[in-house]
Each structure stands twice: as C-alpha cells, then as structure tokens.
C-alpha cells in the first residue's frame, strides 16, 4: 500500500502542469483566437480566354489570379480578453507562407477537358508572425 501511495505521489509530481504566470498580479486575461487569413498582393489577371463576338475581342470568365498570396496561419493574440485566473503570454513565432500564382490549364476531373485556372505553388516563408498563449496564473498571485 505504501508503494502504491508513493507511486501515485511520484506520478502526480511527474504530470506536467499547465504553464503558469509567475509575475506579481494575475491580469485575468486570455489569448484571443485569430483565424487563418490569405491576403493577395497587387493587381490580378483573369484566367479566362478571349473570344470574338461581333468582331469584338472579349475576355470571358475565369477566376481572378493574384501573383502572390500570403498565408497567415491561425494563431492567438493578446487583446485583453477577460478570463479569471489566466494570463496571455508570447508564444514562439509562426511562419507566414508565400505562394506564387499563375493562370494555367488544369484538367477538370472526369471531363477530359482542361480549363484555365489560377494555380498557386509554395514559394517559401515570407516572415514570421507573433503568437500568444493562455497560461494559468500562479497560486500565489
């Protein structure tokens, strides 16, 4: 029985506790979720194709295609949202990805035809965005 209680005690000590805020007073706030976002850079071209109607050259249909797209990951920010017993602290930065896009002919599944579409490929990491997280305030605060 003694071995059992020692094991329980050890196990309890080994279980990682939520990160806690050690500083003085607890601010009673938590991190706010910010959804992922895609922003587009510059002017767009149109992935359509030209036709002649009454002798006029017209560009028909097609999605707008921006040369670059920045993809911001879902992350958290400290915006002072109230939450008793917790604090909002900085977390490791997260990468912001960049994609290059261009109009390409892409096959339409099951039809045997290809239609002009905006096709984007990874170009790498454009930078980093600050992240945040919610931590428990320490019991003494």
């Amino acid at each position: 029985m003694q071995h059992f209680s020692t094991a329980v005690l050890l196990a309890a000590l080994l279980v990682p506790l939520p990160r806690s805020q050690q500083a003085g007073q607890c601010p009673n706030v938590r991190a706010t979720n910010v959804p992922a976002q895609v922003t587009r850079e510059g002017t767009s071209t149109r992935c359509g194709f030209g036709v002649s109607v009454f002798g006029l050259a017209l560009s028909i249909g097609g999605a707008r295609c921006y040369r670059n797209e920045f993809i911001y990951p879902a992350h958290q920010e400290c915006r002072g949202e109230r939450n008793p017993g917790t604090a909002c602290v900085p977390a490791p930065d997260m990468p912001v990805a960049l994609e290059h896009c261009e109009c390409m002919l892409v096959g339409v599944m099951g039809t045997g035809v290809a239609a002009p579409k905006c096709n984007c490929t990874a170009a790498g990491t454009a930078g980093t965005i600050e992240d945040a997280e919610t931590v428990l305030c320490s019991a003494t605060s």
Partner: protein
Amino acid sequence: MRWILACVVCVIVALIWEQWFGAARPLPPLSAQERARPRPAEEPGARLEDAAATRRAELPPATQEAPAAAEPEDLVALLRRVALAYAAQDEDELGRLLTQLLGHPARCEEVLLLLEKGGLHEDELARSGAVFALGAALSCYASATHPVEVDAHAFTVHVLEGLADVPPPEQLDLADQLIQARDGERYVLELAYLGKILELRGLHPEQAELYSSLLVHMSENLSDARGLEEFRALFLTEGQDPTAVKLSLAALLRADASSWLPLAEQLFADGHGNAPLRSAIAYAIATAAPVEAASASLARLANTGMYTEFALLGMREGGSEALAARYSELAAAGGNALARKMLVSGLRTEDEAVMVGISATDPDPGVRTQALLTSSLGRASGPGLLDQLESLHAQRGDPAHGIGTTQALLVAGNVLINSDGAQRERAKEFLLRIAGDPAERDADRLAAAHALKPWMPPGTFENWEIGGQPVK
C-alpha cells in the same frame, strides 16, 4: 388460335405499309432548336445574280445572324452550351453561341432574371453559362462598335440592380464580371455608375461590401472633383466597411496625402482588434500615398500582419528605396525592431549583398532572420547567403549576434525551394545536420526532416527516430 393468326397478319401488313408509304407522311413540326438555326439569307434562283450579290453584301456576316425567337427552355440549353464551350476552351463555338445570345438584348435580360429569381437553381452548368454570358454582354454592349441596338447604360444598371438578388456563389462571380468588364482599356464601371452603386449599397446594407468592391477601378482612376467628393463622403460615413474604407481612402490619399494620412493613422489606431479594417487602411496607404510618406506611415503602424502591404509598397516605383531609407534611419537610431523587420520584409528587389549586410549588422535577431528570409524568397540564393546563414546559426547561443535554429530552418527551407545546384545541396546538408543533431530540440529536428523529405531519396529517414518517434 384464329384470332392470334389474324393479329400476326395485321402486324406484318402494318410493317410493310410503314416501309413503303411512311416516307410520304408530313415531317413532324420543327423543334425549337431547329427553328433557331440560321436560315438561308437568299431565296435560291429567284433573283438575278448581280442583284443578289448586292443584297448579300449588305447583310451582316453569317456569324452575326441572330436565331429566330426561341423557347425559354432553349435559353437554358444555350447557357449550358456556353459553359461547356468555355470548359472545352472552344473559342469558335463560344464566340458563335455568345453572338447568337447577345444579338438579342431581351434574352440577356431574361438570363439575368433567371439567375436572380433562382430559375437556374438546380442547374450549375447553366448558372455558370449565365454568368459568362452576362459578363460578355456587359463588355460587348459598352463598346461603341457592336451592331446591337441596346441601351448599354440601362443594361449595366439592370445587372447592378439584379446583383443583390443573385444567390451565391454566382453573386460573387457576377460581381467579378462587372468589375472586370471593359471595352478595350476602359472599364465599363466608370464614374457614371458611382451614384447608382452608392444608392444600391444603401438599399442593401447587408451587401454593402459587395457593392463597395465594384468601386475599385473608379477609385484607381479618379480624376474628377465630384467623384472625389463622393469618395470623401463614403470614407467619412462608412468607416466600418473595410472595402469602402480601402477604396475611398486610396482615392483621397492619391489626391491629397498630407491631409488624409494623419486621419488614416488615427482610424488605424482606433481600429484595435478590427483586423480587416486595419488591413484596409494599411493597404490604401501602401498603394496610394507617395512612397516616402507611405514608408514612414507604415513604419509607425507596423505589425507582423502587414507583409502584403510592405511587399506592395516595395514593388512600387521608388518604393524599395523609400523602405531602405526608412530602415537606415531607424537602424541608426536603434529603435523599433518590429518596424525594422517589416521594412526589411518589403525589400524583395534589393541585392542579396545588401540583405546579407543587414543580417550581419542589425542588433535584433528577428530583423537578421527577416533579411535572409526576404532575400531567399522567390529567387535563387548565392553562396554569400548560405555562408551568412551558417555563421549566424553557429552563434545561436548569443542573441545579440546569432539566430535560433527554428529561424535558420525557415531560411534553409526557402533556399531549398528557390535555389538549385550547389546552394540547394548546401541547404540540404545544413538541414540534415540539424535533423541528426541530438543537441537540437526535437521539434526543430522534426521540422528539418519534414522540410528535407521531398528532396531526399525514398527511405532516407526509414530508421530514423526523433524524440522516441519514427520520422514518418
């Protein structure tokens, strides 16, 4: 039995009758589709040849002939064929079908009605064709040279009015057709439609952003005092509509940046927690204010959610120089590391040597990393950048001079994607070294292995374990 035999004989007689005399029956009535086919323009042999030639010369070309009036169901079939011709990229067929449809403005009005009243609700192909057809009609009718008798302005107004009732996703597609419609270099939605769009925007407050988006080309090409006044009113009264703010503020900044920039910055400060509004303001500043004023303003407002805006400013004429000048000022003063980082993010056209220089001299590790990320993004890197990366990573224990492993991995990942030959091999070796180094954090080792995996021979990581987990 006799009855059965009599029936068999009757069937045989009927078959023989059909074979011999069936052809003499009158043809069934033409289907609507057949009726819609172009008819011969001349009655054969009824005129003298020279007179017929004169009349033929007066006729429009064969492709411009309009079909006879068709039934509503034919219109749906026609819209389907438009969508199919588009998907198959059959330019000739698409041109022929659109010529057939656009020759009758009333039918185009009917297409709009079908789209907005849900008449094509269950027919995705026809809905798609309807959007293409209306886009073509907007451009075609706005041209001075088409042969169709139509009030182009009234037609465009009808499409603008109908847009509010078109269900998604075609609503956005139709809005896009309206925005993109043009006659040569001239956009169809010019200043003449500003009042109507603002009126409709007011009538449909739930769709204000959709209608605001139609103002984009007007905002970019504004050269009219009355239009500017309208945009000023829009900016001052619609401060919570990001699209309206973006377009109206851009127009105002182009006309008078010194007056409007302070107000824009104040609105940005007041918009704390409203990311779309802040993004709209920053976008207007980056694209419309003079480059020197814009770089100073964006440096004051900088946050890490503004990569697009700094990149846009860096691409404008003189933008990169303005960003570099502002960076030099801040670096000399040793202030605002976040602003320096974002200014450096816009220097995508600077030489690699300049960016490597920034990464060697800036006192902040975030700026040093950003300089290498910017330089390695979207272009091949040289040996100088790889040397600097390894040098900074070797000093990772000293935040005043080095950069951390997590940041170094991102730079190496960029080199892997955008470079080839010797520099890509060096990036691979660098990542492989981190992946195999037990002194590094497991998360960094795993990230290095994942970045490498598509570039290595199959089975490279087969027996690898990081943090007790196999590398999948």
